[in-house]
C-alpha cells in the first residue's frame, strides 16, 4: 500500500493532491475556522500509511500554499508530533517551501528547531 491509494479531500480554497508515492501537495490558502475538520483525517491517514509501510519519508509541498491561519499551522505541528511520538516506525517529514512566502520561513524554522531529526524543510523556488 502507498499514499497513492488514498483519496485527497476536495475542499474550498485549497487544492490537495497526492503526487507520486510519497508527496502531498497543498495549494491555495487555509483560513477556515476549523481546518482540522477538513484536513486532520487526511493527514492522519497519510501518517498511518507511512508508518504501516515503513516509508523513509513523506514530503509535503506547501510552496504554493500562500497564506494560512494559526489553526492551520497547528495541523503541521500535530503531524510532526505524531511522528515524534510514533513508537513503531518513524519517517522523515519533509516540507517543500517557498522563500517568497513569509509564514513558511517563520513557522517551519520554529517547528524544525523543536523537531530536530524528525522534520526538515527546504526551499524549492
Amino acid at each position: 500500500m502507498s499514499i497513492t491509494n488514498l483519496t485527497a479531500p476536495k475542499l474550498d480554497g485549497i487544492n490537495v493532491d497526492i503526487v507520486g508515492s510519497d508527496t502531498v501537495k497543498l495549494k491555495g490558502t487555509i483560513t477556515k475556522k476549523e481546518p482540522a475538520q477538513d484536513l486532520d483525517a487526511f493527514f492522519k491517514s497519510v501518517h498511518r500509511d507511512a508508518v504501516s509501510t515503513r516509508s523513509d519519508q513523506i514530503s509535503v509541498d506547501v510552496s504554493e500554499l500562500t497564506f494560512v491561519n494559526s489553526s492551520a499551522i497547528r495541523l503541521f505541528v500535530d503531524w510532526a508530533t505524531w511522528v515524534k511520538n510514533e513508537s513503531t516506525h518513524r519517517y522523515k517529514l519533509r516540507f517543500l517551501t517557498s522563500r517568497h512566502i513569509t509564514w513558511q520561513k517563520t513557522s517551519f524554522t520554529a517547528l524544525k528547531s523543536l523537531m530536530e531529526g524528525i522534520l526538515s524543510f527546504e526551499t524549492v523556488d
Binding site: 483560513t31 475556522k33 497547528r74 505541528v77 510532526a80 508530533t81 509564514w103 517563520t106
Partner: protein, 164 residues
Amino acid sequence: MESKTNRPGPHHPLVFMRFRPAWAYIDGIREFGRFFCETTFGTPEVAERARVIIQETLENAVKYSSDTAESELELLIKSDGNTIEFQVSSLPDAAHAQALMAELSGIHSQDPEKAYLAAFQRASDEPWASARLGIARMRYEGGVELSVKEEESGRIRVTATGKL
C-alpha cells in the same frame, strides 16, 4: 509640497471599517488590508505583516463575539509615518472577554521569537489545549506588540503596534 490633508496625523485612521462579526468577511478584509498597506507604504513586507495581524485579530474577535445587534466589529489602521497600528474593537461575551484579557496581559514578558517557539512547544505537548499560536504569531511574524483595553458597554479594543 504635500498638502496637510494628505498627511493624516497619528490619531487619524487611514482605514476605518465596521461590519458584522462573520467569518465569511475575514478573507476579503485581510486581502484589502494587504493591498492597502502595500499601496500606501510601498513595501510587500508591511503588507504581509498586515495580513497576519488582520487575520488573527479578526479571527479572535469573530470567534468570541456576542450575538447581539451591538456586536459589530471595528477595524482601524493608523500610521504616523514611523509606526503602524491596527485596532480591532469587539463586543465579546463576558466569559471570553475575561479570558482574552488574561491571555493578552503579560505577553510582553517574553521575547517574540521565544514566545512563538514556546507556543509551538505547548501545541506539541498539549494537543488538546489552546496553544495561543495566533497571538504569538502576531508578535513574531507580524512584528507588533499587543495591548487590550476595556471600553464602555463591555466592548474591548485590541491594539497591535509595530514599526513601519
